[in-house]
Symmetry: C2
Subunit: 137 residues, 2 copies
């Protein structure tokens, strides 16, 4: 946990590298060591705090499936010691034709030890044109 990230983008790069390399310790090093942390992965319960986030990522990073993920930046919101990156994660899963896109927002906070990830949230992207829209949630 001694790694220091100088910018929010450094944290983000390390986050997606940890997924790519299936490295749970590298994943946990990007998160702020605080119970304020929150992680919402697709179709999983909300996780609060490093211990819960670790247990949510453990089976995902231990899996056999290689996930080839492209990240496309949609926008940044800079708020002083807080930065929010809105991205599209374009995932190529084995045996699937084409990439599946997921929205993600990554919220970073600057602390005494540099920038860390405070919150990650995924959302589905819209269905293809012509599909029925779901009820407003």
């Amino acid at each position: 946990m001694s790694q220091t990230f100088a910018t929010p983008q450094d944290v983000e790069d390390a986050y997606y590298d940890a997924i790519d390399e299936r490295d749970l310790e590298a994943m946990m090093a990007v998160w702020e060591d605080s119970e304020q942390t929150a992680c919402l992965l697709p179709m999983m319960p909300l996780q609060r705090g490093p211990a819960a986030i670790r247990e949510a990522w453990r089976p995902l990073l231990a899996g056999q499936v290689t996930l080839d993920m492209e990240i496309r930046h949609l926008g940044w919101i800079e708020l002083g010691e807080i930065a929010i990156h809105l991205v599209e994660e374009r995932v190529q899963a084995p045996g699937q034709a084409g990439r599946q896109a997921v929205y993600a927002s990554n919220l970073y906070r600057k602390g005494s030890a540099g920038w860390r990830l405070l919150m990650h949230q995924n959302s589905p992207t819209p269905p293809a044109p012509g599909l029925k829209m779901p009820d407003l949630g």
Copy 2:
């Protein structure tokens, strides 16, 4: 737009009241008047800025379907001039048995005119136990 919200919770109450009352102007009054705003509603494209957010909400609030929404607080993250509320929106749609739950995170910022909504993001809640989990996105 002259309304002043003294706390993030006041903004949140006004946001859900605007949905309940189908009041587009009341909805827009809760948002910060800045191009940094971001709104991710279920299965819709990301909207940035008040003009885009207004056009996304216009047809939803003009619809005929009454949405009975219960809000359950899951957690707050307080960051000085920024506040994040993690909630579960439990929606009772007409003709559906039971409520459908959606995660939402609401990010508020304190400005010279009080608190305003800066970002709203929805995510699906997990499928019922026994259903297959989707690939990691």
